[in-house]
Amino acid sequence: MTEPFITAKNRLLRRTVRSFCDQELRPIAAEIDQEARFPWEVVEKMGRLGYFGIQAPPELGGAGLDALSYVIIIEEVSRVSAAVGLCLSVHNSVALYPILAFGSPEQQQRWVPALAQGRKIGAFCLTEPNVGSDAGAITATALPASDHWLVNANKVFVTNGGIADICLIFARTDPAAGRKGISVVVAERGTQGFVVGDLEDLCGMRANPVASIRLYDCRIPRDHLLGRAGQGLTIGMAALDTGRIGIAAQALGIAQAALDEGVRYANQRQQFGVPLGRHQAIQMMIADMATQVEAARLMVYRAALLKDQGAAVSRAAAQAKLFASEAACTVTDLAVQIHGGYGYSKAYAVERYYRDARVTRIYEGTSEVHRMVIARDVLGN
């Protein structure tokens, strides 16, 4: 059977990424999770091969691929290490993409080549201790001064935060203007007053250095404003629409990995004198898992294809992210169940998949926020 949507280019891309990840990432995937270590040795290679500038144009150092290629790459990387898939997804879609979509030509020349080649890592700084889903309520400020923005911000749960060089900071440039007073300024690591807080000790995605980033009276040059003043939430929502497709692809990769391990174990482990897969109870689980994975894949690829066609993707991206992340949790849970006690042990990869899957229902919009977005669109209000 030939898959729908997939072209020869996509197949080659999938084989290429799979082979790279099997060779370079799989041998260390469990170890970097346990040690909560960011795998620079592999990330540097990925940078040289174009993984950090998937959709950036070749003239700015990118690989020049489309959104469908992007989700296939995130899916394949996440199948081996969801934490590295997360790094790529956030870097490509909510750090690099907004600069490509909203940055001036000068800003693109300044930041894109280094980001696209992985020489610099990007991060997206929206969440604050008391601001999660309600993005319009942020308290960070970037007040205009003579030749700079004076930025004060306390951003938490910043993916890639511990290693990021270029951070998109959401802050109020006009505190009196409410939601319309929010803007995005680009802060570079090393600027005076830019402080990286402690790394979060997380349940899953442990190889990603998620950290808080604080800016204390940080002077950011005036030309570091991305887009126009007050355009912050528009940029944020556009970035998150793209980002959600990436996170959906990441969840899909985790689910596929859990299905693979479930099938392998069901064929190998003997109980009552036959392989587990001969027992109807296990067959039902495998059937449900495979169906969830395929359905998630169709939704994720569809959202990417719509993006490639230039269509509105908010609803499709929200649906893909909602479905794929819920599927990842269901499928990883069943994979643990098939493994029995061993599935609860760190000796088996499904334990890691189970932990990694959980956050996909939370970050870049919770499942509940996505239901809000979808319902609003369906109801037309």
């Binding site: 197949r11 080659l12 891309l13 084989r15 290429t16 370079e24 174009g50 690989a63 020049g64 290629s69």
Partner: protein
């Protein structure tokens, strides 16, 4: 001294055939033994200049492995394709490839993998060289231009192409050194060159747009009855899977005796090197 190389590659079936093997995009891939051959040719080009052409004979799905070769960095890709070619044995494959190679004249070196992962004969490289009547060295580990003509013991004329080469080949625990005059054909030892990881930008570039030349039988001057099943003097009459039962042998005695017995066994079987 630019070097013009041709690398013959094959789209192989990834899974074991069940009845008649049918190649589809989902079950095909670049023969893994061809990757080191592509790498060797690309490194030669990087060092000396010139060009690398990937050549394949096979059904249309083979275009995908040619695109992969382009993503790795080859300059040109040619597919010899036609329904009459189905069922060709290694001799006919070699004749067709040789006809294609002749059309790609002038060339210096024709590279092959040592064998394919799906039919495993190892014959097509040496047979093609025989049809072309050019020298052939198998299992090459390293090749470099000889700056002087080692056969004549005199410097090569300035500006001449690297027509003399120093080669090392690996075989059965030996390393042989050769001096060979090009044009020549070689198979590259599977462990000699670690093929490069493909850059994502290379994949985008190879497909923008896809540029693979397709030649039919007439283009290489061959007739329908000289190829395929009709033209093949050999035929696979049966293919049977051999199942080797796994046995478990318990080693007894003191730990030291057990370790000695285990090492002895592994050494005898050639799993541990002597």
């Amino acid at each position: 001294m630019p070097v013009h190389s041709i690398v013959c590659i094959k789209s192989v079936v990834r899974t074991a055939p069940d009845g008649v093997g049918r190649r589809t995009p989902d079950n095909s891939e670049l023969n893994p033994f061809d990757r080191p051959a592509l790498e060797a040719a690309l490194r030669l080009k990087a060092a000396l200049g010139g060009s690398v052409t990937a050549l394949s004979m096979g059904p249309p799905v083979s275009a995908e492995v040619l695109a992969e070769a382009q993503a790795m960095g080859v300059d040109r890709a040619v597919l010899i394709c036609g329904p009459a070619l189905a069922g060709s044995d290694t001799l006919v494959t070699a004749r067709v490839l040789a006809a294609g190679i002749a059309r790609l004249m002038p060339y210096d070196i024709v590279f092959f993998g040592t064998r394919t992962s799906d039919s495993d004969t190892g014959q097509v490289g040496p047979q093609s060289a025989t049809v072309l009547a050019i020298p052939f060295i198998g299992g090459v580990k390293q090749l470099e231009p000889a700056l002087t003509d080692p056969l004549a013991d005199a410097p090569t004329a300035p500006g001449a192409t690297a027509s003399h080469w120093r080669l090392q080949r690996l075989i059965d625990g030996w390393e042989e050194s050769w001096q060979v005059q090009s044009p020549m054909a070689v198979t590259i030892h599977p462990r000699a060159y670690q093929a490069r990881s493909i850059a994502l930008g290379g994949i985008a570039a190879a497909h923008a747009p896809l540029d693979i030349q397709t030649w039919g039988l007439a283009d290489v001057g061959m007739s329908v009855d000289s190829v395929g099943l009709a033209g093949s003097p050999t035929r696979v009459s049966n293919l049977r899977k051999i199942k080797r039962p796994r046995t478990c042998r318990m080693l007894t005695g003191e730990p030291r005796e057990q370790v000695d017995a285990l090492i002895e066994e592994l050494t005898t079987k050639g799993i541990l090197g002597s």
